[in-house]
Symmetry: C2
Subunit: 377 residues, 2 copies
């Protein structure tokens, strides 16, 4: 009996390997087909990312999974993972444009991380692109002349200085910046240039190599009709645009960006000063602690100056950070007086304020955590 | 030309749907095969999770992807996602045991979230399981008599009280707790019971329904030879065990657990007091801010008392929280004096301290963030 089971065991494993090989073949075939779709979309001038098609496709495959008795979540996760790569691949091969012939693009700081992404995107789409780098200012007038759009993609600490120099763009030229704060650069652009102006905040890091499904915040400055083609181009690349007032943007970002970065630096500094054994922590960590730790540690693999720039970008953030600190002191006081009931009450007030979002976040993060556990060796 | 492209477009989409349908069929077949493996593993008394087989299988499929010209990361992600469900499915159908006939299991608090998971696991594996709930103390002596293991799975605030009652276990009975702090419960267990003792800290939340690849911290108390069968059973369920000294465990946990929970509560409280527009924040958020926000919000979908219990579990944590606070004040002072260079220096000191880990964390979190973007609608 045991002998037979052992033989069968070996055979079933071989069968699994065979299925896996067929799986790879099928993914290859799917990619060939989606690449074909990419070419046809370009030809038919259709956008790369079509939310409705994506939703329909997912619904269809979920239904099929249910009918065949397997988990719809499983097949949805798999198909979304495959789609991620098809967007990337489609994006690489297409050269889809809105009206490239007549548009010259100039990117100031086009050799930087985010600037070079836009250089690549415009190039792929057939626009003539010029870059202005640090040493190029003497020639800048010639480069900027006849530009349809000038994009400012320089570090936040020099954004305003650069914008102030841009006083002689032609009147139809669109002036755009991609700084992570919006009110001050927008004001500076409107002061320097009389033509169309918009402020962008691309909500992603330099790790991205296509715009499909990426959020880009758009703050309107002036001359919406003249920036329409540019907005369309972003959408054609697949970006999901979010229109918001510059002041509101900066207020929200002071919390999700400035305070978050600041307290992450504090937490990393604390770990260092406590001289925590990182390897041991990782060994013990549950997926959630691991995730929290990697979200802290990732900051420190990045440019110190970039984060300092963001944190120091606006002294108006200081009172908000102080309010945060005061709240921490208040809760610590509750901890010291051992008033657990009071602490629990505070907790529940926050739960009520989060409302339905809390449940949704729990569900979404559980999916992420399962993924984190998948990759564990 | 355009007409033909449009026709072709419709046809290619149909082809994609066909491939997707075949994909579902293939996943169904693979699950049937892995379920078969599960049965055979039980018959052959092999553990559910075999790291070497998993690594070999992944290497094979990565190689196959490379040869066929598609991304090895893509197929690895897919196969790991499928494997997650196979572990779950295999675990549900197997009833694999170490030596169940002779072992009676008693779980105090077996109706709680984590307690009931262990009840289910032991039941599935054929052990006779008894539960002691709040009202069962009058009968507890009869229930505990002849138990091979008594597991304490009650809320942290009553763990010690419960342990103190367990003075008349038989001398071979293994006493185990699953509290998230380890030094005090272990001390209490060693004082109450003269026989074998171990402390566990399962490093996962109640959302889990199998142990495959889940980390469980083990702190040895007394009588290792008598707890061997129990340790083996955990391994057979697929758990990844991490042996650590109780004191070291508590020290590390004071930072990754107590401080982390505490500052998350503060951050949630801050968001509420600032009355941030959550929907607007989500609309604007990059994957990383979204992830950070859901990691905060998820806490507030959970039991306020549970988190208060952990945070209040040990007054010795207060000095550590105060050191954290002081570090925040120090960095805030640098922010106020606008000494960006000093802040950048601090940042770089932390980067150096993280060393290679920072790069690894960046890479790992980028994978997670890509996943977060996949599910965006």
């Amino acid at each position: 009996m045991k002998k037979n089971a052992a033989d069968e065991f070996v055979q079933v494993r071989k069968d699994i390997d065979q299925v896996d090989s067929e799986l790879v073949d099928l993914i290859v075939r799917r990619q060939q087909l989606t690449d074909k779709v990419g070419t046809l979309k370009a030809e038919l001038e259709l956008p790369l990312y079509v939310p409705r098609r994506e939703i329909e496709l997912i619904e269809k495959i979920r239904l099929s999974a249910e009918q065949k008795g397997i988990s719809p979540d499983l097949v949805e996760d798999i198909i979304r993972r495959i789609m991620r790569d098809s967007y990337l691949s489609q994006n690489k091969m297409r050269s889809q444009v809105v009206q490239p012939q007549s548009r010259k693009v100039v990117i100031i700081g086009g050799k930087g991380q985010l600037g070079s992404l836009f250089v690549e995107l415009f190039n792929q789409s057939g626009y003539p692109v010029d870059i202005i780098d640090k040493g190029d200012w003497p020639q800048s007038d010639a480069i900027i002349k006849n530009a349809s759009v000038v994009m400012v993609a320089v570090p936040i600490r020099v954004t305003n200085q650069v914008i102030e120099k841009l006083t002689n763009l032609n009147e139809h030229c669109l002036l755009v910046d991609i700084t992570s704060i919006k009110e001050l650069p927008l004001k500076a652009m409107l002061a320097a240039h009389k033509g169309p102006v918009i402020g962008l905040h691309p909500m992603f890091g330099p790790g991205i190599n296509h715009l499909a499904k990426q959020t880009v915040v758009v703050c309107q400055g002036r001359g919406e009709s003249h920036s329409q083609w540019f907005i369309q181009q972003l959408q054609t690349w697949g970006a999901s645009l979010s229109f918001v007032d510059a002041k509101q943007h900066d207020h929200l970002m002071s919390i999700v960006q400035v305070l978050r970065h600041f307290s992450t630096v504090v937490y990393g500094y604390h770990l260092k000063e406590e001289n925590i054994d990182l390897d041991k922590v990782l060994e013990l960590s549950s997926p959630i602690y691991r995730l929290e730790l990697i979200m802290v540690g990732r900051l420190f693999a990045q440019d110190a100056e970039l984060y300092s720039d963001i944190i120091f970008s606006d002294q108006q953030n200081i009172p908000m950070v102080k309010r945060f600190l005061q709240r921490m002191i208040d809760l610590l006081e509750i901890l010291e007086t051992e008033d657990k009931q009071k602490f629990t009450n505070r907790f529940e007030e926050v739960s009520n304020w989060f409302g339905e979002h809390a449940e949704k976040f729990l569900h979404e993060s559980n999916q992420m955590l399962a993924k984190a556990n998948d990759v564990k060796r």
